[in-house]
Symmetry: C2
């Protein structure tokens, strides 16, 4: 499990970081860490739990160019989904991929984007997720979880938790989401 692949993985303290809250910047700040980590030659994997698979996201275009591993396990289905079996199955599938990547010990940074939702909505049991992480997360691995409604058990487990709060939003002025900025 400790096949250290980057020069300093052996000595470092891998952080569990949670970006939560109602504001913008949760996924975006995770992407900023991806950029930093990529700049240092770290091995990175991003797993997105809610967003649909499409090549149209700026971050996915960037990840492809940079050779960053990227999985989208959602299909745009949301917590309002009418087909909960499908939604739950997708969350479980995403978590299985994540478990494999985490336990492999091969990564420096793993991002679980919008992973709070499967826990918050009960598609995955939070306590089981946290127990599994306690037992299996390599010490040197940096793990980032994003999404609203971060469960208390996850916040307890995490090292660094930031809440993003909206102060002013362009939708209020009728400005639509802008490519390259919000996606």
């Amino acid at each position: 499990m400790n096949n250290a692949k980057s020069p300093d993985q052996g000595n470092r303290t891998g952080l569990t970081i949670v970006n939560t809250g109602e504001g913008k910047g949760k996924t975006t700040a995770a992407l900023g860490v991806v950029l930093r980590a990529w700049g240092r030659g770290y091995k990175i994997c991003v797993i997105q739990f809610i967003k649909a698979k499409t090549g149209q996201w700026g971050e996915i275009k960037a990840a492809k160019k940079l050779g960053i591993e990227w999985y989208t396990t959602g299909d745009g289905f949301t917590w309002l989904s009418k087909d909960m079996d499908e939604t739950t199955a997708r969350a479980l599938h995403g978590w299985e991929i994540a478990q494999g990547k985490i336990a492999s010990g091969e990564y420096d940074l793993i991002v679980l984007d919008e992973f709070t939702y499967p826990m918050h909505y009960g598609w995955l049991k939070t306590i089981e997720v946290i127990d599994w992480l306690h037992a299996n997360k390599p010490k040197g691995l940096h793990l980032i979880v994003t999404g609203r409604y971060a469960p208390p058990e996850l916040i307890e487990f995490a090292d660094l938790v930031t809440e993003m709060t909206p102060i002013k939003h362009p939708y209020e002025k009728g400005i639509k989401a802008q490519p390259g900025i919000e996606f």
Copy 2:
């Protein structure tokens, strides 16, 4: 001023985005937008007002590899600096560079990292900065300003303002800042 260089600059609404607050993720979320924008082939410039020039930051290593224009106009001097002439001169110099880049109309995204501090501490007059932006910011340019203590006039001018609030921080547990994650 409107030499549109990217396919959609002509039609789009350039956003002014402010990431402020006491929490982590202000610069990092700006970097996430940089990654997205780079993924779309946008022309990007980052100007850092406080951080010292060093190749040791993960984001600077990444920017070099990606061909993103990057200026560090600070030298690590802070608002506690004892040589305020030097500190003020550096802020003015950074703002001059920024004005040139903004007014050129050649960029899709410009990041003014930690640009709130020169305004908050009075090294630059906020009202003059905002007046200049009103007159000179190209309509299609996305502009991001980061840093604590965003002045009210800047928030008024901005389209999207997010406050990052610390909920839990690893320093509390005695864990040091980690390369690839925080820098």
